[in-house]
Amino acid sequence: VDRRRIVRLLAARSCCFKADLIAAVRRHEVFGNLPTVLLTSSASPGDQKRCEELGIAARLLKPAKQSLLLDNIMRVMAGKSRARATAGPEAATTAATETPANGAPLRVLLAEDNPVNVKFALKILERAGHTVTHALNGKLAVDLWSAQPFDVVLMDIQMPEMDGLDATRAIRALEKGRDRHTHTPIIAMTANAMTGDREMCIDAGMDGYVAKPVKKELLFAEVGRVLGDGVKGGARGAVV
C-alpha cells in the first residue's frame, strides 16, 4: 500500500470534521499509525485537542494553499507530528514548526476579523515560533479563552458580533469568577488614531496597545512589556 496515496485520500474526503471516520481508521490493524492530514472548512474550540487525541498530524483550513498542503504532507511523512496550518475565515489554530532558539514560544490568541490583518499578524508571530489561535470576532475569542490557556491575547477593537472592548470586559469578568487568580495580558491592536483610544482600551481592562499596521518590533516590545519578560522575537534580543 502506498501510504502517501492514503494520506491524500483521507485529506480529500475530510470535508468536515470526520472524527468517527478517523477513529475507525485508527482502530484498523494496518492503518493504526497512518499519518493523517485533516482538511476542514471550519474550526471551533476543542478541535485541536480532538485532533491530538485522534493522532491527526496537521489540520488545515480550506481552501488550503497547494504549497502549504504539500509542505505539511512532506513534514508529516518525514515523521514530524506538528505541522503548520493556515489562517482561514473562522477560528483556527496554528502550531509553529520551528523550535525557538531563544525564548519560550507563547500561546497567542489573535482576535481579528480582517483577513489581511490576520495574515500579516500570523506571519510575524509564526516566524518567531509562537503558537497562534485565531478568533474571527470577540465572542469567539472569549469562547476560545475559556476553553484553553493563553499567554497573551492580541485583540482588535472593531469586530463584528462582539468588539474587542466588550470581549476584554467579558474575559476580565470571567477571570474574577475563577477560583484561582488569573490575569491574561490583553493587547489592543487598532487602526484608531483618535485621542483617548489608548485610555479607552486600558479602561476596558487591556494591558497594552499597538497601532496598526502591526510592526514586529513594536509588537514584541509591547508583548514583552505586558508579560514583564522578554519574548521570542522581541525583548530577549532574538530577531524575528
Binding site: 489581511v116 495574515k119 488614531a193 499596521p213
Partner: protein
C-alpha cells in the same frame, strides 16, 4: 508619477516574500473592493456609524501596504462618518474609491514585475 506605496518598506514588511505579497494583494483586491462597496452603500443610505466603521476597516487593511496616501483618504471618510457629517463622508469616499483602485492596480503590477 510617484508610487502610491513605499516599495522598499513594503518588501521589508513582507520579509521579501513575494508569494505572501501576491496573496495579500489578491485579498486586498477582493476584500478591499467589497468593503468599498459596503462603504458606498452606507454613504448612500446616510448611515454615518456604518460609514465610520467600514472606513476604519478599510484603513486598517490598507495600512498593511505602506500607502499613507490611501490610508489618509480612508481616515478622512472615517472621521466624517464618526462625526455624522454625511456630505463630508460622501465627498471623502468619492476620493477614496479611485485611490483604492489605483493602489490595487499598482500593487498588482508591482507583484507581476517581480514575479
Amino acid at each position: 508619477v510617484a508610487q502610491l506605496f513605499d516599495e522598499s518598506e513594503l518588501m521589508e514588511r513582507v520579509d521579501n516574500d513575494l508569494e505572501f505579497l501576491a496573496d495579500t494583494v489578491q485579498m486586498l483586491e477582493t476584500d478591499g473592493r467589497a468593503l468599498m462597496l459596503e462603504l458606498k452603500t452606507a454613504v448612500a443610505s446616510g448611515d454615518a456609524p456604518a460609514v465610520g466603521r467600514t472606513a476604519h476597516a478599510l484603513k486598517g487593511m490598507v495600512s498593511n501596504f505602506c500607502s499613507p496616501a490611501v490610508q489618509t483618504l480612508a481616515l478622512e471618510v472615517e472621521k466624517a462618518g464618526k462625526a455624522g457629517d454625511e456630505a463630508g463622508a460622501a465627498a471623502a469616499s468619492e476620493k477614496l474609491e479611485p485611490g483604492l483602485e489605483a493602489l490595487v492596480v499598482e500593487l498588482a503590477a508591482f507583484v507581476r514585475s517581480r514575479s
